[in-house]
Amino acid sequence: MAEDVWIVGIHMTKFGKHPALDVVDLGAQAARAALQDAGLRMRDVGVLGAGNLRGRRDFGQALQKQIGQTGIPVFNVANACATGATALRVAIMAIKAGEADVGLAVGVEKLSGAGLLTGNERTEAGDRWTPEGRVGAVAALDGRIGTDTMPGVFAQIGMEYGHRYGGTSFELFARISEKNHAHSTLNPLATYQKRFTLEQIMNDVMIAYPNTRAMCSANCDGAAAAVVVSDSKLRTLSLEQQRRAVKVSASVLTSDPWSEACQVLPDINTLTRAAADQAYEQAGIGPDDLDLVELHDCFATAELVHYDNLRLCEPGGAVDFFNSGATWRDGKRPVNVSGGLESKGHPISATGIANVWEIATHLRGEAGDRQIENAKAGLAHVIGLGSACGVHILEKAAV
């Protein structure tokens, strides 16, 4: 039986603009703060999981040169928006496998001012129509055969849910965004801490109907890091460290199994459902036991479908669930009390650790003005298109 794994140190930098810091600076800031929070040093760490997509491929090693080169194995991982969760999963797996008793996971991205991150990958070239690639395309397909942009892809995913179950509308999706922006006003680390009215959200610049700009995740700079330890290591630490430790009750990573339409529109549902089911099974608790959830609201349209995918509501019941007020911070199942990616921001590789930080901070009772009282269990979810889905269930220490 593999040992339990505990988070003993965790940190999220302020999300926003950090023009003077490069990815290594930001990563080092998060890593050193997480180690300090844990009361440990780099020399105690046995494995490093490192995630950064748009800076440098050797991010893990570059980070070591700034915080401590101890010769430990480094895993530079890439899994789109699930990169941070993947780095954390690597550290947790190493501990569960008995290969290390302390692991560090770091994710960082600099995205301020990045604009659209995908779309129109092929440049129009030459003066002859020449077939290229796996469908023999003679020209760029983005905009000619659907859209490659994320706001448009996730818009369709929300619309598809509406087609299947009914009840969705532009206004409904905008109200999800209204909730997350309202939540962000209590989070000093969020990129934007501004409450918007429903009218402001709906009248904002349209990006891909029904997602306006306010309903899209915010590009920003940021980093997050976590220190995880084995059960036996935890017992060697101080009582105070043990009291603040957060149990990793489930750590799951899935990719998407084949489904009929996944070649034309990414199926973010099937792999999220599979990850959630495995996580609840591992943790031995269910969705009704969760005091808060941080889920991957890269767009307002995505949040809706994940209520269903994470089993927070009855199958097909996401609209009613949201309309009941359940997912507001004073509701029965608060979702994205951090402000979510729409206001907190989405520095891709940091996101999968930052949402774990949010949950852990509530479980420790250290979330300040936005504390969910007596939080004992929470779930953090991310999805990276392609796809990869990370789900972590965390529980408060029993000590």
């Binding site: 077939p131 000619r144 619309m159 532009f170 349209m206």
Partner: protein
């Protein structure tokens, strides 16, 4: 008539333009691109099958902000063509939620992308409402 090439190799031009898919002989999963093996069952034999040209719009978005050089707004969608999901733009109708609706019936329509230096015309496709 001048020479034509399809935008993608799964678009068949001619008197009755239509789409084709690579269907797994083993499990009938369909793919528009070239596959090394079937993602569903690992089978390696495929046959080319015709995809129905009419279908139902199952999901859409109206893209107002896209990469440079892409004309906006346009409607991107997923059309259920008799059980095969197809990605394509919704064309020949105003790009707004009053004219484009979930569940609407649509049919394949071709459009010209212009001619290259040798006078060869590239032809793309979309789906238009069935009036």
């Amino acid at each position: 008539m001048s020479e034509q090439v399809p935008l993608v190799d799964y678009l068949v031009l001619g008197d009755a333009p239509h789409l084709v898919a690579n269907e797994c002989v083993e499990c009938a999963a369909r793919f528009f691109d070239r596959r090394n093996a079937c993602a569903r069952c690992e089978g390696t034999e495929f046959r080319v099958v015709e995809v129905p040209t009419e279908g139902e719009l199952r999901a859409f978005t109206i893209v107002s902000f896209a990469a440079e050089g892409i004309e906006v707004p346009f409607v991107a969608g997923v059309v259920d063509c008799g059980g095969t999901s197809v990605r394509g733009n919704i064309v020949n109708t105003p790009p707004d939620p009053e004219h484009v609706r979930l569940g609407m019936k649509v049919r394949l329509a071709t459009n010209s992308l212009g001619a290259d230096s040798q006078g060869v015309e590239a032809v793309g496709f979309g789906f238009e409402p069935v009036s």
